[in-house]
């Protein structure tokens, strides 16, 4: 399984996105330490994949961070920390790192690297560096693989989503769910999460 290069809609070609997903990580502590120490060889967004529900969820955070970079609106150190912060439903940057960033306990890891004109990075170099430093099994960055990693209870807690049990829950009478009920439910969950992320900081 190799690093994936992703082009997002409305992102200039000069800003290329690289993504790699790993499972059974053995050296999360070491990787976490490199971020804390500010090791410049580790300019990545290191995301705990257990709080990511789908590709779209991750891509939405990347898009927001890159758009904020282009608009000179970064709230954190760089575009990579901003990707982690962009997953957050609120403005607490430190909390967003704790919730979505790598921790010593992380076992599934999503790595994102944005190549920019001021700090270009080639796919081969990223892949060979990751192969060297990440002690884990590289897997397909796909919805299916992510789903198996997701801690849904935690995700719902972070985004304060218990819509299916609430009194005003999306009732059966207005939402016409087909036979594929669970996939409809997770699409709805994804939509609500994207909304929370988009509204982050919209406090006035």
């Amino acid at each position: 399984m190799a690093l994936e290069c992703i082009n997002l809609e409305h992102v200039p070609a000069s800003h290329t996105i690289h993504a790699a997903l790993f499972q059974n990580i053995k050296n999360a502590s070491f990787l976490h330490q490199q971020l804390l120490a500010g090791n410049t060889e580790f300019e990545y967004a290191l995301i705990d994949a257990s709080v990511i529900i789908s590709r779209l969820h991750a891509l939405a955070a990347i898009y927001r961070a890159v758009n904020d970079l282009l608009g000179n609106k970064l709230r954190s150190r760089n575009v990579h920390s901003e990707i982690v912060f962009s997953l957050s439903p609120n403005n607490n940057i430190a909390e967003s790192f704790r919730r979505f960033g790598i921790s010593p306990e992380t076992t599934s890891l999503l790595v994102i690297k944005v190549s920019t004109p001021s700090s270009p990075a080639a796919g081969e170099d990223i892949q060979s560096h990751l192969s060297k430093v990440v002690d884990g099994e590289q897997v397909d960055f796909s919805d299916g693989v992510l789903r198996a990693m997701t801690d849904m209870v935690r995700v719902k807690k972070i985004y304060k989503l218990n819509y299916s049990s609430g009194v005003n829950g999306r009732g059966k009478e207005n939402a016409v769910y087909g036979s594929d009920r669970t996939s409809q439910d997770s699409k709805e969950l994804e939509m609500l999460i994207l909304g929370s992320m988009a509204l982050r900081g919209a406090t006035n």
């Binding site: 809609e9 409305h10 207005n174 988009a198």
Partner: protein, 262 residues
Amino acid sequence: MEVDTSLSQSSSPVPLPLILQRPSVPAILIAQGAEALLFRSTYLLPSLPCALKYRPSKPYRHPTLDLRLTKHRILSEARVLTKCRREGVPVPGVYALDEGAGWMMIEWVDGEVVRIRLNEWLSRRAQEGVPQGVEDGKLVGLMRRIGSAVGRMHGVGVVHGDLTTSNLMLRPVPAEGVNGGGMLDGEIVLIDFGLASQSTQDEDRAVDLYVLERAFGSTHSKAESLFTEVLGAYEKSFKGANIVLKKLEEVRMRGRKRSMLG
């Protein structure tokens, strides 16, 4: 160059937001209102359509005030949409926004606005010579679905502020399909929350209903007689709806007086 050239060549120049000048599937201008432009564009992937609502700056307004107003409107619309969606009101979900740049991307809703569907249906029936009141089942069903959707919105504490049949969409339901007599089928989706606010005032709710009733009266008079179906379904949709219907009578009275004076 990345942008649909038909836009830049159209008679009145359409101000494109910076975001639509970046590489993507060409955007299509869908509607141009007084305050906002609505494009069909894409979110993250070429295969994921979105509606991009753009509020261009107004040259006649003071720049600082203009920016503040634009930001406020984008944020307030996005906030109401996410609140509705979380609470199960059928509205487009919010994907992304950049209030400083004046745009917001929301879920693309397939289908057509109720105004157009209803007019098509009414004119087809007129052509076929079906008398009013006969085989109205489909229309009654539509009116009831509208009533429940509006009631659901009011029930979560949101008033729309511009409730017309152009701001209600009919999204086709996969199993049914649009053709085959199902012109009025589909799920109601409420759109355009540019004038919406969070309110639980019966007066505000009643005005929403009054505006909708007038919209039916002025553009689809043949459907107006069935507005009671909207109100019937509305009444059952949340606790306290009956008080709103009382209030609606007052609002109607005021409206009538005003038109007699005017």
